[in-house]
């Protein structure tokens, strides 16, 4: 997973550099935002001639998935509002899925560890990509624009065929858990 995140970080660094962001700003964005989909979207909008407001709105829309993810994990984050908010900032797609246990609860320490590894891979990858981006004439020639959607596609839970004769609700629950179990295998690969 860290390797994939690192490759995508390189991809973002290249795209950001080509869009006119300095290496330092690209790295700062990755360090502060730490959300690939939002970053790619915002940079693409600005590079396409869109305004900063539209880019930020696009980033917010892309990150809207973190709202239900934050709601789901909230009961397992202890402490006062500030402490819970700081823990909520650590949520990213893969670590959230990895932290989901079979009984629907969350292992927050597992999520923190997974997010920390991804954070390092993402920021280091961005630094490498932003530094090397100037050497590439056309990043699209490397197929970098296909890499990020493919990453999310690989993260998506896989559907399971419900067992005939099972109670529908139980089958649905198993489907959800099974999906996220396979999700975990993906995260560990």
């Amino acid at each position: 997973m860290a390797v994939a995140i690192g490759l995508l970080g390189v991809s973002f660094g290249v795209v950001a550099q080509q869009a006119g962001l300095s290496s330092l700003l690209a790295l700062t964005m990755s360090a502060l935002v730490f959300s690939g989909s939002a970053q790619f979207t915002a940079v693409a909008i600005v590079a396409g001639g869109g305004g900063v407001g539209a880019a930020i709105a696009g980033a917010a829309l892309m990150n809207s998935r973190y709202l239900p993810m934050g709601v789901a994990i909230a009961p397992w984050l202890p402490g006062g509002p500030l402490r819970r908010a700081l823990q909520g900032l650590v949520v990213v797609d893969a670590s959230w899925a990895l932290a989901l246990r079979d009984d629907g609860s969350f292992d927050r320490w597992l999520m923190f560890g997974c997010s920390a590894i991804q954070y390092v891979a993402w920021t280091v990858g961005t630094a490498v990509g932003a530094s090397a981006g100037g050497l590439l004439e056309d990043p699209a020639a490397l197929g970098l624009d296909a890499a990020y959607p493919a990453f999310f596609l690989a993260l998506l839970p896989r559907g399971r065929v419900h067992t005939l004769g099972e109670d529908r609700r139980t089958a649905r629950r198993c489907d959800c858990r099974g999906s996220f179990r396979s999700h975990r295998l993906v995260c560990l690969s």
Partner: protein, 104 residues
């Protein structure tokens, strides 16, 4: 203020706001199981929408191109191998190969 700085700061703020909203609003309260079941399905649904729009959207219109073929290949590789790295590399390789072959 520098436009790029506003972009980076704005993106950081909205991302933080979305991420902390749930943990702050709900706190340690346990939500009903039915609600949790729905919420758990929302994130994959939004991710799916993200994949479709990024694979098919091209300057405000829908288009099938080398990137679409790359994403589909990446998905197939992910299903077959379970490796995210292999999926990402395959997607980029197919998109790049098709562009090189067609001169796009």
């Amino acid at each position: 203020m520098n436009t790029a700085l506003v972009l980076v700061g704005g993106c950081a703020l909205v991302t933080a706001a979305v991420k902390v909203a749930g943990p702050i609003a709900l706190g340690g309260r346990v939500v009903p199981a039915a609600f949790t079941a729905i919420v758990l399905l929302l994130a994959p649904a939004l991710l799916a929408a993200l994949v479709v729009t990024q694979a098919l959207a091209d300057d405000g219109r829908l288009a099938v191109g080398a990137d679409t073929a790359g994403v589909i290949t990446g998905g197939l590789v992910a299903v077959r191998s379970g490796s995210v790295v292999a999926a990402v590399v395959a997607a980029a390789a197919v998109a790049a190969g098709l562009r090189a072959a067609t001169g796009q």
